[in-house]
């Protein structure tokens, strides 16, 4: 019955920064196929700055920390993923106001708030071939696993569902973002944002529970 505290969230951000840095070329290659070949460098640039926050400054609450992470992504990433991931963390921060120990219920609410932010910002629907195609099944899987009360199990289930959703983007025709200009030609490629979102959940499963 583990809970996540400020330290866990810091670990999450730092772990994810490491992952997207390592995978930057891969993410960029995915974006080269159907976008403008910058998703990896965007995420690496943004997350490197975000991961630095906890080193530069003493945080005393989860929501203050996540808010800064969100602001940092908004300010440093640009493109589509900056506002999307930025809004995700800003909204998640909002859900954690006053919460210092987040259990499975709080994390579930935090993720849902964050994803609602992504939808509010990007207006993507299921099947549009965006990061939302990883997030939507992930939320469902998380909720289904909540009954057990086990945060680790819920995050793992969410990450696995995200991976399945990510893989399913391969067969889709993009209807949002830059890839949509390609029309039919966007089919056959995995969406870069769905890939980086899956990585974020995998990282959460490693660090938050």
């Amino acid at each position: 019955m583990s809970v996540a505290n400020l330290q866990s969230f810091t670990a999450w951000i730092e772990d994810y920064a490491r992952v997207v840095s390592e995978q930057a070329d891969y993410l960029t290659d995915l974006d080269r196929a159907i976008g403008d070949a910058d998703h990896g460098s965007n995420m690496k640039r943004g997350m490197t700055k975000a991961a630095q926050l906890a080193t530069d400054e003493e945080f005393t609450s989860v929501d203050a920390y996540l808010k800064k992470v969100g602001m940092s992504l908004v300010s440093n990433v640009g493109g589509a993923s900056g506002p999307l991931y930025g809004t995700f963390f800003l909204r998640m921060a909002g859900a954690f106001a006053g919460v210092e120990e987040a259990g499975v219920a709080e994390i579930g609410q935090g993720l849902r708030a964050g994803v609602e932010g992504i939808v509010a910002r990007g207006k993507a629907e299921t099947g549009d071939k965006t990061m939302y195609d990883a997030w939507a099944p992930a939320l469902e899987a998380f909720d289904a696993a909540t009954a057990s009360g086990d945060l680790a199990a819920a995050l793992t289930a969410a990450a696995e569902a995200a991976a399945t959703g990510r893989d399913a983007t391969q067969d889709l025709v993009a209807r949002k973002g830059r890839a949509s200009y390609l029309g039919e030609r966007s089919r056959g490629h995995i969406d870069p944002g769905a890939t980086s979102s899956t990585m974020l959940l995998e990282s959460a499963a490693r660090t938050l529970a």
Partner: protein, 334 residues
């Protein structure tokens, strides 16, 4: 990659330094935020006009800042939307009490970053912000279920026309309505002879054979409608003008403002030659050309190619078009 640059990472900031050095009489460049401003602070009561987007499209937008046009332009990295911090800084700076209009090209990144900036500026400084999203590229299918058309050439004409309206003291609501009208009246289509190379990428964005052209290209080297064999100028002109005319009726009482735009690597001699072809087709189709621009205005780094923009322009629009403008990229009447 052959370019007149130093470190690819420094291209935007160094070009901004060059703009600052070249136009000290007219521009003020905030290098920290990468925002180009008019030299003089905004006149109280004038609507502030801001645009911005990825760099690499010069003179748009920084070179279109000045009397009768933009008040500020936010420069993103090459082909990458700027971030909300830049637009917020600009929004606060050019708020003369009459509100601020954001002119946004329809790319997901641009739209979302400008949106966040508008929300934040309204929350933080109480500035009234309205936005217009330009989506005039007929090469892209428009549909409620997609990201929609890209914003291209009409942006330049819109910045000129709405700039004149703001200069003559029209309100934020009027400027926004005018901007929406201009966007609705403008259509563009582009083509490429060669690719461009993003400095940070170091290699061409796409490959075109020596005997191929890409028709319907975007301004970031995004793919177009089709790849076809190299054709004579008069056929290329038809490939660009026909989809534009098919999309909107430009005949009737209003004339049209036409822009024959170069993508950056095409010399003027070819643009004039193309303009001759384009003007002939338009006239044969019953479109009266009221005004025109021939040159490099919305570019794609060193891409060779061109685009045509046609804007249906009634007397109000033509009058605003003719109003004085004094920017590095566009100047008359001053």
């Amino acid at each position: 990659m052959k370019k007149l640059i130093n470190d690819p990472a420094d291209v935007v900031i160094e070009a901004l330094r060059g703009m600052a050095a070249a136009h000290p009489d007219r521009l003020r460049v905030d290098l920290e935020n990468k925002v180009v401003y008019r030299k003089d602070p905004i006149r109280s009561g004038k609507v502030g006009l801001i645009s911005g987007g990825g760099s690499g499209h010069e003179p748009m937008h920084g070179g279109l800042v000045g009397l009768g046009m933009l008040d500020a332009a936010c420069a993103g990295e090459v082909f990458t939307s700027p971030v909300p911090d830049q637009m917020m800084a600009a929004t606060k700076e050019v708020d003369g009490g009459a509100g601020v209009l954001h002119i946004v090209k329809n790319y997901t990144g641009d739209v979302m970053n400008f949106e966040m900036a508008a929300e934040l500026a309204a929350a933080e400084a109480g500035t009234e912000v309205q936005s217009v999203v330009v989506d005039d590229d007929v090469a892209v299918q428009d549909s409620l279920y997609t990201a929609g058309r890209r914003g291209v050439g009409t942006t330049v004409l819109l910045e000129k026309i709405v700039g004149a309206a703001a200069e003559e003291g029209r309100s934020l609501a009027d400027c926004a309505a005018l901007a929406t009208k201009v966007n609705g009246n403008g259509r563009s289509m582009g083509m490429a002879l060669t690719s461009c190379t993003v400095p940070a990428a170091g290699k061409p964005t796409f490959e075109l054979a020596e005997d191929e052209i890409e028709v319907g290209i975007g301004i970031h080297g995004e793919p177009g409608r089709k790849r076809v064999p190299l054709a004579p100028a008069r056929e290329v002109a038809a490939m660009l003008v026909e989809p534009v005319l098919a999309d909107l009726d430009f005949t009737g009482d209003s004339g049209a403002i036409v822009m024959m735009n170069g993508m950056g690597g095409t010399p003027l001699i070819e643009l004039y030659l193309m303009y001759h072809e384009v003007a002939q087709i338009l006239e044969k189709s019953g479109v009266t050309i009221a005004r025109c621009l021939v040159g490099n205005y919305i570019t794609s780094l060193e891409m060779a190619g061109c685009s045509v923009t046609v804007l249906k322009a009634d007397d109000d629009l033509v009058g605003l078009w003719d109003a004085p403008v004094n920017t590095p990229g566009l100047r008359w009447g001053v």
